[in-house]
């Protein structure tokens, strides 16, 4: 089979997230809202990084987009509009069970965190590929040999040797091989959107490099869009066209990668970037970011970053800032920040290198 490329970029976004809340049931009557009012547009071919500290809602939002949350979790408000290969726009929230199954993997696929645990340890890799094709493919059941042939092509795309990988159990492969196999599997049905949760965490630096290179290459070749969740700001700088910073369940700054790394307008983004030591150049002394994010069940009434913020004023304790567009651009690339002082003095950033 020749791969069918996703439908040509029709006008408008591939994914349009509007005011999405995601929450978890924590008791008989209690709920915890882990993501508040998330909104962004992702256009075809774009790659967006979601960054932030642990527990700020990145993974919850990623899972929510495909309705892959654990049983206690639900998307409780908003719309997740997705332009399907057919050209129709659907709200992922309203998809019925069977339709949702067809939507997943065919149109949008997820690469879960921890390649170690994403595979069933007692199944050979070929069984994972067979299962995936049979569970999600639209057409009628195909013979095993045909599916395996296509699986081999997928593995070759990520430079793995199918003869070695397909008959192996997951534990017989190295971490890097498993991560690459997982990406190949996610791309099996040529989705238009790939969501990756911490794709390089726990991998060695050289293995990280090969995963990054392969993702870049695959994206050029297959032209899918990508949302990836990471706490590695280096990865975001390298692989993303645009970045969204999350803090305490909210998107607090969005913009192009350059906007955030060179012209951050939210003190949290600036502090996060400033806390990473670089390898290149002179020794840069990173600034620690003291404290931690507030508990989601005890958010301050005003800005949730206010207790840690160096430029907080009295106003910040009372008023919660909305995500406000500072520099409008097309295709969802506007620079926006949720800070009352976003127009204030320049924040320290890693100035542009020549």
């Amino acid at each position: 089979m020749t791969p069918t490329p996703p439908a040509p970029a029709a006008d408008g976004p591939l994914l349009s997230v509007r005011g999405v809340d995601v929450g978890y049931r924590t008791g008989r009557r209690t709920r915890l809202t882990a993501v508040h009012d998330a909104s962004f547009d992702l256009y075809p071919g774009q790659s967006m990084a979601l960054v932030g500290e642990s527990g700020c809602g990145k993974t919850t939002l990623g899972l929510g987009l495909l309705r892959l949350l654990p049983r206690t979790g639900t998307v409780s408000a908003g719309q997740i509009l997705f332009r399907r290969k057919s050209g129709d726009q659907v709200d992922v929230r309203t998809l019925a069970k069977e339709d949702l199954r067809r939507f997943r993997w065919n149109e949008a696929a997820m690469v879960f965190q921890g390649a170690m645990n994403a595979f069933n340890p007692v199944l050979r890799m070929e069984e994972h590929f067979l299962d995936t094709f049979r569970a999600h493919e639209r057409r009628t059941r195909r013979p095993r040999a045909e599916i395996l042939e296509e699986s081999a092509e997928l593995l070759e795309m990520v430079r793995l040797d199918p003869a070695r990988v397909l008959p192996s159990h997951p534990h017989e492969l190295s971490g890097g091989m498993r991560q690459r196999a997982l990406i190949a599997l996610a791309l099996a049905l040529r989705p238009q959107l790939l969501i990756l949760d911490e794709p390089t965490t726990a991998l060695d630096v050289l293995t990280q490099r090969s995963v990054v290179e392969q993702l870049t290459e695959l994206r050029e070749r297959l032209r899918f869009s990508m949302v990836f969740i990471t706490h590695d700001l280096g990865l975001a700088a390298e692989l993303a066209d645009r970045v969204g910073t999350m803090y305490a369940g909210r998107l607090i700054e969005t913009g192009t990668t350059r906007d955030l790394f060179h012209r951050a307008r939210h003190p949290y983004t600036s502090a996060l970037i400033g806390s990473v030591p670089p390898v290149a150049g002179d020794r840069h002394v990173p600034e620690p970011l003291p404290g931690g994010p507030p508990g989601l069940n005890a958010l301050p009434p005003g800005c949730s970053f206010e207790p840690r913020c160096p430029r907080a004023t009295e106003e910040c304790t009372a008023t919660r800032p909305e995500l406000r567009v500072l520099h409008p651009r097309d295709e969802g690339l506007s620079h926006a920040a949720a800070c009352l002082h976003a127009d204030g003095a320049e924040l320290p950033t890693r100035g542009g290198h020549p």
Partner: protein
């Protein structure tokens, strides 16, 4: 090597000491006048497995000095952790020696060994696994104090525990004393692990990927806490990481040793090794790092390896271990003869046939 002055506290040299050879060419590297607290001399660790012998560490010479950082970097499986375990006395080398203040560990008497146990502390990678889940913070911190007789009575132990928590910035300390590990965040747990190591008033801390599981924001503050111990208390560090950015930041005034398949392939002062790597493997490591700067990340020169996969330790390549992956591989030389680790000037050591040392 010039014989180092022996401090008063050192037990009299034992016959075991004679077996520590002074490898040639190391003289200028020992630039610090202070004698090393902990030394590895030709240390080897070979594990016997059904598939054959696995030479996890194939002879390394390393020194940890007071107030100095020795950073071990390399990929998983290169022998960093095994080296650290030998240095900490947790694994006995199958060849060579580990010396504490000039005396081989295997020659230490019972009392001296207790002193070594106290003086060399280990901080593990995973703060979720390294703390006993049924002990409170107080119990974790004071167990060692009482075991080594460093605190007398409950009150003194409690006061010591409070001091320790304050030193690692877990304040207010009283609020944390009676908590169990599951009530703490990852960063807080790792601080407890650091405090536990500090309780012994150590001369050397061996930190094995101790910051790699933490959020970026917390990582820097923990590194700064460790840096203060190094500068204020003169604690020597053997710091293991695969993150060169962290190595560069923490070990700036110290040394980096790059390990590959159980051997040191390049070693030298941190700024020199990171800013001007010579060995093709070190170059690959430095160039592979994702820089937190979008312009730099897209223009940075990358070293392309001939193979992404690390060879099997039970079936090592002939000649230079790195030759199957090396972009500078020269047939007939690299695949036949193993390059020795030699001094190249500028207090640097390098094991490569093809590239020259700096300058």
């Amino acid at each position: 090597m010039i014989e180092q002055p022996v401090p008063d506290t050192t037990p009299a040299p034992r016959p075991g000491r004679a077996v520590s050879p002074a490898p040639e060419g190391r003289g200028p590297v020992d630039r610090r006048t202070e004698p090393s607290v902990l030394s590895l001399r030709g240390a080897r660790q070979v594990f016997s497995t059904p598939r054959g012998d696995v030479p996890a560490v194939a002879g390394v010479d390393l020194d940890v000095r007071p107030g100095q950082v020795l950073c071990l970097v390399g990929e998983s499986g290169c022998g960093k952790t095994t080296t650290a375990r030998m240095a900490a006395g947790l694994a006995e080398p199958t060849g060579g020696e580990v010396l504490y203040r000039g005396t081989a560990l295997r020659a230490l008497g019972k009392q001296e060994r207790a002193g070594f146990r106290r003086a060399v502390q280990y901080i593990h990678q995973d703060p979720y696994a390294s703390l006993n889940p049924v002990r409170t913070v107080h119990s974790t911190l004071t167990a060692g104090l009482r075991r080594h007789g460093l605190a007398k009575g409950r009150d003194q132990a409690r006061r010591a525990a409070i001091d320790l928590l304050e030193r690692v910035d877990l304040t207010p300390a009283e609020d944390h004393l009676d908590k169990y590990p599951h009530q703490l965040s990852g960063g807080q747990r790792q601080r407890v692990a650091v405090a536990r190591a500090l309780a012994m008033d150590p001369e050397v801390i061996i930190a094995d990927e101790s910051t790699s599981m933490l959020d970026v924001s917390i990582r820097v503050s923990l590194l700064n806490t460790l840096g203060a111990l190094r500068d204020d208390l003169g604690v020597g560090f053997c710091f293991i990481t695969h993150d060169l950015a962290v190595a560069k930041y923490f070990a700036w005034d110290g040394e980096i040793a790059v390990m590959y398949l159980g051997k040191v392939v390049e070693q030298g002062p941190t700024p020199d090794v990171v800013n001007d790597p010579r060995h093709p493997y070190t170059r690959a490591l430095v160039s592979a790092v994702c820089e937190p700067d979008p312009d730099l990340a897209r223009t940075k020169e990358r070293v392309r390896l001939r193979s992404a996969d690390i060879p099997d330790l039970t079936d090592l390549p002939s000649g230079c271990d790195f030759h199957p992956r090396c972009p500078l591989y020269e047939q007939g030389r690299c695949d036949t003869e193993r390059p020795p680790l030699v001094e190249t000037g500028g207090r640097r050591l390098l094991a490569c046939h093809v590239v020259d040392g700096p300058g």
